[in-house]
Structure formats: structure tokens, C-alpha cells
């Protein structure tokens, strides 16, 4: 059973397994595990790792439209280097500060590989919490920020490592330290009918949101806001779209917003809000056709991470 099938199996048993975070009595809680081999390319500093790992959980809180309040992390490694540990904590503290939350510590564990498990909590506001399943035909499909940032970072890590280019590695680290969209999620909470973060990439996230809401999605490829760093690493527009739509791990928000509210809510989103498509009736035909981009089916796939 792969991870996706396993998650489906779990979803049948647990009320909140399909969403980015669970809500219990007005408190949002979410947890993630990241590890060196798959999540932190060579060159990733411990400061960046702390920022990014805790940021991933804060992003899940953001996706519910809640106010992030605190985060904790388990830091596991073969051995504990004091400077590395302090840098990890500094990254965790700083990403929490960036979203008005508090990093309150965690646990240490000896492990065969650098691994971190992070948890964030938040408070649901009077606007309520948003799930993935409320998108309705006619809603505008919108995203925060710019896409392809993590894809560009990975390419820069690869280039920097291959050519001993410290500047490229430094820039890659900067790109890896995203701001979790908590402020945007709060702004969207009162309007969005469905919302999620984009850890699995735009294409896959669209499929997930469409499936959860029982709708179809029509995307406008040209409307997807691509991060400027993608220009540096992509050779043509097809590769740009590939990196922006399929790579994932950008931790931006994807949401459905009723048409009349789009302009007002856009003003309130510090990361910007771009309309990239429209929610439509479910087609009833092939699952792959549930999401289209410029009238072509958009495959439900992530990016194959460079080693194939």
C-alpha cells in the first residue's frame, strides 16, 4: 500500500483525515514529518530546515483560515551538534514570529537520519474554519503568492552543489524559507468556500479539492502566477508550467471564492490573490477530466523529483 492509498484507508476511520488540519473545540491541530533524504537537499542549512519544517505545519493551519498560535518540533539526528540544533531552533522561532505564533520547544530523539516532526496549533476565528469540500460551481478558483518557488530552489541547490556555487546554495535556502500564508488564510476565512495548501503541487491539489467538493475545475494556464526564480531555471514555457503546477511544496493556498467577493478579499491578502480558474459542475466522465487546463485534462500527478 502506498502513502496515498494508506491515507485513503485512514480517511474512512477518522473524521478529519482528509483535511490539512483537524479542528477540536475551536483549536486547529496539524502534524508533519520531514527527513533529510527526501525533504532537505544537500546544502539546506539547519536554520532553513527549522524554518521550513515548522512552516509546513503553520501552512496547514493557514489552510483552515485559523490564527496560528504555537508550534513544537521533534529534532532527531544521529548526534546532536549544538550549533546545528540552535540554528534549527532559530529557524523555527523566526518562522513562528513571521506569522504571530510562538515556538515553544519540543523533544529530541536519536535517529539514523536527520528527521523532524512538527506540530502547529491555531485558533478558529469568528469566521469559522474552512475545509476542502465546500467549493461550488461558479466560484472563482484562486491562489496566493507565486508558484514554483521550491522547484526553483531545488534546481539551485543542484546547480550550487555541482559547481561549488555558494551563492546559488544561499539563494536556494532563501527560496526554501517561505512565509506560511496565515494572514492570507485569515483574510480568506470569511469568504472561501473551500481551501487547502499546496504541499502536493497545484495540479494534484486541484484534483484533491475538486474530489472533496464534488466539482470540476477549469484552469487558465496563463493565469498561474509563476515565481520569478523559475525563469532562471526553466528553459521554456512548458517547463515553467511543469515546475509551477506539478512540483509542489510551495505552501501557497488554493481556494474557491464566490465571484462577487474576489476583489474585496484580494485586497486583504498580503501575499496577493490571483484568479486562475473557475469551479464548474462535475463532468461525470473520467476522473482525469475533473480538472482541465485550457480545455485539456490536467493530470493528477506531482513532479518526479529529478532522479529518474
Amino acid at each position: 500500500m502506498n502513502e496515498r492509498d494508506a491515507l485513503r484507508a485512514l480517511a474512512a476511520d477518522l473524521p478529519h483525515a482528509g483535511d490539512d488540519a483537524a479542528v477540536v473545540d475551536g483549536t486547529v491541530i496539524t502534524t508533519d514529518m520531514l527527513h533529510e533524504r527526501t525533504d532537505f537537499p544537500p546544502g539546506t542549512t539547519r536554520y532553513t530546515a527549522g524554518w521550513r519544517a515548522v512552516g509546513a505545519s503553520l501552512s496547514d493551519v493557514a489552510a483552515t483560515g485559523a490564527a496560528a498560535s504555537a508550534a513544537v518540533a521533534v529534532y532527531a539526528d544521529e548526534a546532536f551538534d549544538r550549533e546545528e540544533l540552535e540554528r534549527f531552533v532559530a529557524g523555527a522561532v523566526d518562522v513562528c514570529e513571521a506569522v504571530d505564533a510562538e515556538y515553544v520547544g519540543g523533544d529530541l530523539d536519536e535517529h539514523v537520519e536527520f528527521t523532524t516532526a512538527t506540530t502547529a496549533i491555531g485558533d478558529v476565528t469568528e469566521d469559522g474554519s474552512v475545509t476542502r469540500d465546500g467549493a461550488a460551481p461558479g466560484d472563482a478558483l484562486c491562489v496566493t503568492g507565486e508558484w514554483g518557488r521550491s522547484a526553483a530552489a531545488l534546481r539551485l541547490f543542484e546547480r550550487g552543489n555541482a559547481t561549488d556555487d555558494d551563492e546559488a546554495v544561499e539563494r536556494a535556502n532563501e527560496l526554501f524559507r517561505f512565509t506560511p500564508r496565515v494572514a492570507d488564510g485569515l483574510a480568506l476565512a470569511g469568504s472561501a468556500t473551500a481551501m487547502m495548501d499546496s504541499s502536493d503541487g497545484l495540479a494534484r491539489s486541484c484534483h484533491q479539492l475538486a474530489e472533496a467538493s464534488g466539482v470540476g475545475i477549469e484552469l487558465d494556464r496563463g493565469a498561474v502566477p509563476v515565481h520569478p526564480a523559475v525563469e532562471e531555471v526553466a528553459e521554456d514555457s512548458a517547463e515553467r508550467f511543469e515546475l509551477a503546477a506539478h512540483f509542489g511544496e510551495d505552501f501557497e493556498l488554493l481556494c474557491a471564492v464566490p465571484e462577487p467577493e474576489v476583489d474585496a478579499v484580494r485586497e486583504a491578502c498580503p501575499a496577493g490573490l490571483t484568479r486562475i480558474g473557475t469551479v464548474v459542475e462535475e463532468s461525470g466522465s473520467e476522473v482525469e477530466a475533473r480538472v482541465t487546463a485550457d480545455d485539456e485534462p490536467l493530470p493528477d500527478r506531482g513532479y518526479t523529483h529529478g532522479d529518474g
Copy 2:
């Protein structure tokens, strides 16, 4: 740097690093990581692992005197077996139910070894939250439940595995599934001046509580309540005390309670409350003499786990 020194380094930077759990705006949060090689002996079922891992975090909530509300877990393994995953979740759900909390899911991750990271949250009641640092000379030192349970379980796992004794393994699993002392923590919250759970064993926990509170502790060895299962596996009274006081992972509560309140609060503890010693002035001499048992210094050490 070993784990203990690393924790000390962290404690200097983070406000809550010395306690079992952090408190943020009335919400308690705590996180732990456990993995197969060090925490789940061969024979541990996935149901027991789910119960025990989530229970460890609920125990940290209990140690603050808060009401546990929810828990999440990351389940990481080389491959996902549906039945194992479902059993893990069933154990997590059941231990939450045992303390009136809700298991609300989590995350999956591929990992080289079965690893789980658990987080629990809780709500501080009107009695406030309890930390490790408030014990005062004259307080009674008390513990919940009976000690040595996990030590006995480990011996039964070893015996059961060596002799293909399924009953011993089954009993070991039962002993491993402790009830987190949330109800007892809530009963103690209004009275205890200091409280913690006993993940590192009685001796080490006494040292930690004494150090945090700036006091000494005088223990009565004979008063320590020893779990009946220890009788089966220990050869004499010295070994019984060794297993009850130094092994750890019993997840009972250790607390200081003002003398006049001991009898009343004992009535309110479902797991029972036993007075095992007295909080005294800090001796000012050797650190090792901070905690004594029958007037002999009680070493600040855990149990050496069977392999040496």
C-alpha cells in the same frame, strides 16, 4: 553532545523547554518521537505502539494538570500495511478515549524504521497549570499508581520472545498499555506545587524536580509502590527497587503536595496517590546528595536497558 546536554542547551533559549509541556494562552502542547529500535521491543503490537506513543504525549499533558483534548500522530514506516496502520490508529483512538480526549489523525511518512511522532494538546483548567519548579520544603512527595510496570513488560517481552511464549508477550503488551494519568493530574492541579511525569524513571525524575525547584528530596524506599508484575521478574528486593526506581517509562506522576492537602487529594486520584518522601531544604553539598533514599544518596541515573 548527548541528548541530555542538548536539552539543557535548548532550555536556555526556550521558555518551556524544562517542563513536560508548553502552555500557550491556556492551551497545553507537547510532542514526542518514539521508534522501533529503542522504544518498541520485538513483540510489541501496532495497537500497543499506537496506544503507548499517543499515551506518552497525553501523559505529558497530565503532568501539567490540564484536561487532555486531542492528539495527533505521524506514522512512518518502510511500507504501509493496512492492518498494521489500522491497529496503530485503533490504539491511538482507544488511549485518547481512556482520558476523554479525541484522536484526530495525523500524517504518514516513508521512513527507514517504524517511527512515530505524537503530539497532544489540552486545556488548562481554573486550577491553573503545574510546572516542576514550585516544590517547597515540607511538602509531601507523592506518586500515582504503581512503579516498574514497563520494566516488567520488557522482561516479559524478552522471556516471551526467547521461549516462544505468546502469553508472556500478550501480558507484556497489556503492561505496556498504561492509562495516562490525566484524571489524576486534574485532581492534583489545585494542590500540587510541582508535578511531572516519570518518563525517565523515579530516581532521575526526583533529581529533575529537585533541581528545578531548588530543593532536596528524602525518599522512603519501602514506601515506593511497586507494580505486582515486578514480583514475577525480579529476584530480590534490590532488583525490585532497581526496576521500580531506575527503569522509567512508567508514565506515572511525581508531585509535591502540601502536607495538609495530601489526604483530600488522594481521594480524588483514580490511580491512587502514595506518599513516598518529603521535600527538604537543598543540602548545598554534592548534587548527587540532592535526593536521598533511606538517607543514602540516590543516584541520578536511569536503567541500562538490558544489553550490557
